[in-house]
């Protein structure tokens, strides 16, 4: 087989910590090759070695059969290696074209020849089927579109080998479909792709071969046609993994959350939630499913007091909590795992231990008469870190330094620990690996089994189907159907999410 990139026996250490130990990855021309591993397994380190950001202690890298020494990213670029980063590196106030040519502008009399640049971008986007508007501002286009700009950036620089770093973590299901088409088109044009991911479904769908690494060690490379998701998952985690979360039937009791006729506006002042009714009972998990942007975020923000309610009521345990301030909502017995853990969930520059009391710092024993008792704070933090398996060097490590999965576990620990009557979990497993997802699902179900109410918001249909006891489909700010997971299919949910009334279950 012809390999365009070969990384042979790569070893990388950081102060005695072995991040990569004898890893071999060979990318054949024209293939989509998956690099699979849990959060913190060493995927990023390996790619940073390839990209010249780190120098390996052992092993060699060959590009098109020739041994190369990649000492900085410019050399990687010259060799035709391009990286599509997970967190986009784009200037928000620049146009698509300006971002693509940045640092490599076509010049004319010492000024940037924008016409020529736009022309080039247009040609590239047509050639690879990457629909973008070259003159649009980055701030005005969708996340999926921004990702295409990132891809175009690498193509503009003549990349032949593209590395996609967890490209689907930020995309909606529709955008994922489009991305897969784009990757196929790139292969057709003779490019080769390394796809870093921990989503097994995507690997099964688009990849030819997959290289698995676990805790820094290369486990091996397998052909996708000869494997299955269960096998891959056990290779990655090192033990058998169950996908369908096991749980007993729900025994719902009294109503905990009652939303009646709720109306909420979004940030632009457009009505996002329209006259919405919703019930969540003690001892059940209600999953809200819908296409992003149908009022889910606004609904949750309204319940938790982060957004003004225009009309209607929110009742908790028979008590009216409509338009309560966030603290009053929290004190009434609501916990909230927020959708965006960096924006809302954590103060990233506080130690992880200090983040554990973000809502309770003013209460005994964490403070007395306005004086913090950090000893108690860290004591609490250590119990939670232990109980929720948050992997952190210490309780005083900044939250910023933790991996996404461990940040999420910390938030979940904090929220569940308050023993709330209602737990709202918004995309609790976004961007996490199977091990962490399994853990979080178990915790949500445990909460339910303890007789608490759980409201789950997710864009992953698998998650909704697996974890929920009832599914409420939201469309244009209204709950259009409530169905039981056992009596529905992904197809039916898909239709309901798209606004079709056909096959709708009973209305609440």
């Amino acid at each position: 087989m012809d390999y365009v990139i070969e990384m042979l026996g790569i070893r990388k250490e950081f102060n005695g910590f072995v991040a990569n130990d004898n890893i071999t990855l060979q990318l054949a021309k024209g293939e989509i090759h998956a690099l699979l591993g849990e959060n913190g397994a060493g995927k990023s380190t390996l790619m940073n070695v390839l990209f010249g950001l780190y120098q390996p202690e052992a092993g060699e890298i060959k590009v098109n059969g020739k041994t190369v020494h990649i000492t900085n990213p410019n050399i990687a670029n010259e060799l035709g290696i391009g990286m599509v980063h997970q967190h986009f590196m784009l200037v928000d106030t620049f146009t698509v074209t300006e971002n693509i040519v940045l640092g490599n502008e076509p010049k004319k009399f010492g000024t940037v020849n924008m016409k020529q640049a736009e022309q080039k971008v247009r040609e590239l986007s047509e050639q690879y089927g990457l629909a973008v508007d070259p003159t649009a501002k980055i701030a005005d286009i969708s996340v999926g579109m921004q990702q295409r700009v990132e891809i175009l950036k690498t193509l503009y620089r003549g990349a032949e080998m593209l590395i996609f770093d967890e490209p689907t973590a930020v995309l909606t299901p529709q955008e994922i479909k489009e991305l897969i088409q784009i990757m196929r088109a790139l292969i057709k044009e003779g490019k080769s792709i390394i796809l870093i991911t921990h989503k097994l479904k995507e690997i099964m769908e688009v990849c030819e071969r997959v290289t698995v690494i676990r805790k820094g060690k290369g486990i091996g490379t397998v052909n996708v046609s000869e494997t299955n998701p269960n096998h891959l998952a056990s290779l990655m985690v090192g033990r058998d993994v169950t996908f369908t979360t096991e749980k007993a039937d729900a025994v719902p009791a009294q109503s905990v959350l009652e939303v009646r006729g709720l109306s909420v506006n979004d940030s632009r002042g457009v009505q996002a939630v329209r006259n919405l009714d919703l019930d969540v009972r003690a001892g059940e998990i209600v999953g809200i499913c819908g296409v992003d942007g149908n009022g889910q975020t606004e609904l949750i923000e309204a319940i938790t007091g982060l957004r003004k309610v225009k009309g209607g009521t929110v009742m908790l345990n028979g008590k009216n909590i409509t338009s309560f301030k966030p603290r009053k909502v929290t004190e009434s017995g609501v916990a909230h795992i927020p959708q965006d853990r960096h924006k809302h969930g954590l103060v990233l520059d506080y130690p992880i231990g200090v983040n554990m009391v973000l809502q309770t710092y003013y209460q005994n024993p964490f403070s007395k008469a306005g004086i913090m008792n950090y000893k108690e704070v860290y004591k609490k933090a250590n119990t939670l870190i232990e109980e929720f398996d948050v992997r952190t060097p210490s309780e005083t490590t900044l939250a910023r330094a933790l991996s996404g999965g461990n940040q999420q576990k910390a938030i979940i620990g904090r929220e569940v620990d308050r023993d709330p009557d209602l737990l709202i979990a918004a995309q609790p497993t976004r961007g996490l690996d199977v091990g962490a997802i399994e853990f979080i699902h178990r915790r949500l179900i445990e909460q339910r089994d303890n007789g608490k109410a759980v409201l789950l918001l997710s864009f992953e249909l698998d998650e909704i189907m697996n974890v929920s006891d009832r599914i409420a489909v939201i469309y244009e700010g209204q709950i259009v159907a409530v169905v039981e997971p056992k009596e529905t299919t992904e197809q039916e949910l898909g239709l309901l999410m798209a606004g079709s009334k056909k096959g709708a279950g009973e209305r609440v």
Binding site: T304, L306, K325, P326, R327, K328, V329, T330, H336, P338, K343, H344, G345, L346, V347, L348, D349, Y350, V354, L358, Q359, Y361, Y362, S367, G370, I371, M372
Partner: protein, 349 residues
């Protein structure tokens, strides 16, 4: 551990680089750098009088530095320390003049509190505008500096005195003058304010690091969204932060009014202490102990520079250049950390 060293290394290296650059400038301009710096040292710590003057100069710097650092730690840029200091100065002098038969234990704290209150009010306005209308505090505080300058001048000329350029000296019961410190330092103008400055630094550290208020203020400074999610009142905290910052600056003004000068006079321009406070906070890494050390350095440089032309013939403006360069090096701390990183790498190899 190594990270802690870097935190310390940046300001120290910046100061050394600034002094080195100053030496080069002295050589280029035909002066003897050794003599120049010797004169600077003698002028700052040469005998007890100069040491006293340095400590006296350090006092308002500590307050101004604390004011900037406190706001910065809670996510705000208080460029208005100069103005807050001026109104605090005026208010303290006014109270110091207005009462004649109060015992010192009542009068002095009252005069200082008046300074704090005036500074707090001057900080409240930009804080309120930021919280309610999202007006950027930098713009408002800069404008408030000019307002403070002209308002205080007006009050001195037309309200407190009868068209004169300066107020009378404050009553003995409101004065910070200390015969003990004066005797100790060969009759320098050192006054009791230095104790208050050190107490204020401890207070700031305690407030930020040990209280629930500090927990909230820093959280809001780092991440407003998460603070709101956690149930904190973001707007209240923004206002409170500016009020506390302004109070620190106001007390700094009281130190001038009740201690250094004992009165207030018409200012044709800014005193510069408020702006130097920004540099002090920056050099001190926005920490209480850092501010105290940086204020000591600035006090020594300012006081010591007066001796330079007399003893060595080096113009005292040179110190202004050195200060500017130190700030330049601190501001480009990235460069220093990068150099340190390179250095370490080579050593490892």
């Amino acid at each position: 551990m190594s990270k802690k060293w870097t935190v310390l290394a940046v300001p120290v290296i910046s100061v050394l680089l600034g002094l080195l650059a100053g030496a080069i400038i002295m050589i280029v301009s035909g002066n003897n750098p050794a003599a120049g710096y010797m004169a600077l040292w003698n002028g700052a710590f040469g005998d007890s009088f100069y040491t006293g003057e340095t400590l006296r100069q350090m006092t308002p710097y500590i307050f101004a530095g604390l004011a900037v650092a406190f706001a910065f730690r809670t996510g705000l840029f208080n460029i208005g320390v100069e103005g807050q200091l001026l109104v605090g100065w005026l208010a303290s002098v006014w109270v110091g003049l207005a009462f004649t038969d109060l015992p010192k234990v009542v009068h002095l704290p009252m005069a200082i509190a008046a300074g704090a209150l005036a500074g707090a009010l001057w900080g409240f306005i930009p804080g309120f505008l930021k919280a309610r209308l999202r007006v950027h505090e930098v713009i408002v505080t800069i404008m408030m500096n000019y307002t403070a300058l002209h308002v205080t001048n007006h009050f001195i000329r037309n309200v407190i005195s009868d068209g004169s350029d300066a107020t009378d000296a404050v009553n003995e019961t409101a004065s910070l003058r200390s015969p003990f410190l004066e005797n100790l330092t060969d009759f320098s103008s050192l006054h009791n304010g230095i104790y208050l400055a050190v107490i204020a630094a401890i207070l700031m550290w305690f407030m930020l690091e040990k209280t629930t208020l500090g927990y909230e203020l820093r959280a809001v400074g780092y991440n407003q969204h998460a603070s709101e999610y956690a149930g904190m009142n973001v707007n209240r905290n923004i206002i409170l932060s500016m009020v506390i910052s302004g109070a620190f600056a106001g007390i700094g003004g009281a130190m001038q009014g009740l201690g250094t000068f004992g009165n207030m006079f018409i200012n044709s321009g800014f005193s510069g202490i408020g702006f130097d406070g920004i540099a002090v906070a920056l050099l001190g890494g926005n920490t209480a102990i850092g501010v105290v050390l940086a204020a000591l350095l600035f006090g020594a440089l300012k006081v010591g520079s007066l001796n330079m032309p007399i003893e060595s013939g080096v113009p005292n403006e040179l110190v202004e250049i050195v200060i500017a360069l130190i700030i330049f090096f601190v501001a480009s701390s990235y460069m220093i950390t990068w150099l340190l990183g390179r250095f370490k790498k080579k050593e490892a190899k």
